[in-house]
Amino acid sequence: MNRYPRWPIHLALIMASFVMLVPFYWVAKTSVSGENIYAYPPSIIPTRVQPFFYVDVWYAIPFARYFLNSLAVSVIAVIANVIFNAMAGYALTHGFRGKNVVLMLFLSCMMVPFQATIIPAYLITGKLGLLDSWLGLALPQCSTIICIFIFKASFDAVPRSLIDAARIDGLPEWRIIWHIMMPLSTAAIATNVILAFIWSWNNFLWPLIMTRSADMQTLPLGLARFLSYQEDTTGALYAFCIMVLAPGLLLFLLAQKEFIRGLTSGATKG
């Protein structure tokens, strides 16, 4: 049954890959050449390659400040996600009074997209006095239901006997999590880190609503603002795009397996 010719499959997939990659190429090309912003017909291969637009970005906007904000918010979100989700995931591996209520709550929360909460979320954050701060930017993303279940599944796979032995030795619960569960769940931790990082790094709507000062803007916000006063007439915009895309892309290529596992376990398990 394996006799069918392979080349039509390759042909179709190469075409698909081409469609997926061309936009990247086009932007990367414009960011190093700046040509065909005015010129028609556009040239396919860049003729004058130079890094000036990247330097432009550095001077035109406080790139370092935006980068710092994005990084700080993502780091807070990642650390909080790993700790909070692991704790919650561990609790869910046990049977206890009220567990069904918690599960129901989690499942119904998954049906509430963030976009449907923006107005109260803004008012609540205002009441907490966290508007325009790193903590306020990170807070709504500090725990994720999918990731809690990823931890739960991973903890469920740890042999009961190991945990019982630790209990008999008198280890308190938090040390069981820290010294036994976590070292055995590195894959779940990696998935948590990467999902939390990418979601927080790419987040646009929340910073758009709740940051006031120029000092608190994150990279996506900076990019959108840059567009609005440059009106795509400069290669610097596309250089900025590449600079913003690079970290996420790099992280994804390094940890592709964990990322996809996280999404599909989220997808198949809800």
């Binding site: 700790i83 561990y90 107005i119 109260p120 895309l245 999404l263 997808a267």
Partner: protein, 296 residues
């Protein structure tokens, strides 16, 4: 000294507390507050007053709201296009060919990218004067004059939808691929021995068994596309006119541009109802077990 069991329960609740607090604060409370707010006259500086159904009545006569609702429905209706394309790709990369991991990575690559940057890239691709798409169309003599995709009432929404499909395609593909790989090989082998053609096997084995995955992809994709605020906001800002206004961008504009929080809350409630109805309908079509229904 508490009993051991009670102490254990208490401890577990403490472990759950931070996550629960975040979800109560940013999921449960907003839903309740939105609901309350939609029945009030309220602005940040005024005390609340009961409004009854006034805001909903305003929406009934609000053309922009209907336009946004219609556009949102069109976006939902476009999800199957992406899923059909992704199904084809999933079948192709599931074949036993060389380099399939490379293809998979390339096709998935657009999904984890920052949507704001994706929107800027596609603005550039769709550009009237120097965009690549117009260039290709003109070179192939498909059009005489360049099409101003994002400034045209006809083309703006399809263009945004196309960009959305481009970004989501890899994600749909991965979900479908997971479903494909869970179909036991023996079924295909047995059918092949019985002389079933590969088209027949696709129709009678693969597609029926893939049904839950397809509908799951639809639910997730629907959620993702009707909440694609970033893409619309950066690519068109809802324009030209209101041609690409969707409910989420309208909520944002009402709330944070015009500071009509109460009216925005009413739109949010409509949006929320739409979301639940669509997810419920998709779930029914899938035979009741797609999506979030089966965790334990």
């Amino acid at each position: 000294m508490l009993k051991h069991r009670t102490r254990q329960t208490l401890l577990l609740w403490c472990f759950l507390a931070p996550s629960l607090a975040i979800f109560l604060l940013y999921r449960v409370m907003p839903v309740v507050w939105n609901f309350v707010l939609s029945f009030q006259y309220w602005s940040p500086l005024k005390p609340a007053e009961f409004a009854g159904f006034d805001h909903y009545e305003d929406l009934w006569y609000d053309d922009v709201f209907w336009q946004a609702l219609w556009n949102t429905l069109l976006v939902i209706a476009s999800a199957p296009i992406g899923i059909a394309l992704a199904l084809g790709l999933a079948l192709l990369v599931n074949a036993e060919i060389r380099c399939r991991d490379v293809y998979r990575t390339i096709i998935f690559l657009s999904y984890p990218l920052m949507t704001v940057a994706v929107a800027i890239i596609w603005r550039w691709m769709f550009d009237e004067r120097v965009g690549l798409i117009n260039y290709v169309a003109r070179s192939l003599h498909l059009v005489d004059k360049p099409i101003p995709f994002l400034n045209s009432f006809t083309w703006a929404l399809p263009s945004v939808i196309a960009a959305n499909i481009w970004q989501m395609l890899g994600f749909y593909m991965i979900i479908l691929l997971t479903g494909l790989q869970s179909i036991p090989h023996e079924l295909h082998e047995a059918a092949a021995i019985d002389g079933a053609s590969s088209w027949r096997r696709l129709r009678s084995i693969t597609l029926p068994l893939l049904r839950p995955s397809i509908f799951l992809a639809f639910v997730v994709g629907m959620l993702n596309s009707i909440t694609s605020f970033d893409l619309v906001y950066v690519m068109t800002g809802g324009g030209p006119g209101r041609a690409t206004e969707i409910l989420v961008t309208y909520i944002y504009k009402l709330g944070f541009v015009q500071t009509k929080f109460d009216e925005a809350a009413a739109v949010t409630i409509v949006f929320f109802v739409l979301l639940i109805v669509t997810a419920w309908a998709a779930n029914r079509l899938a035979g009741g077990n797609a999506g979030a229904a089966e965790i334990e």
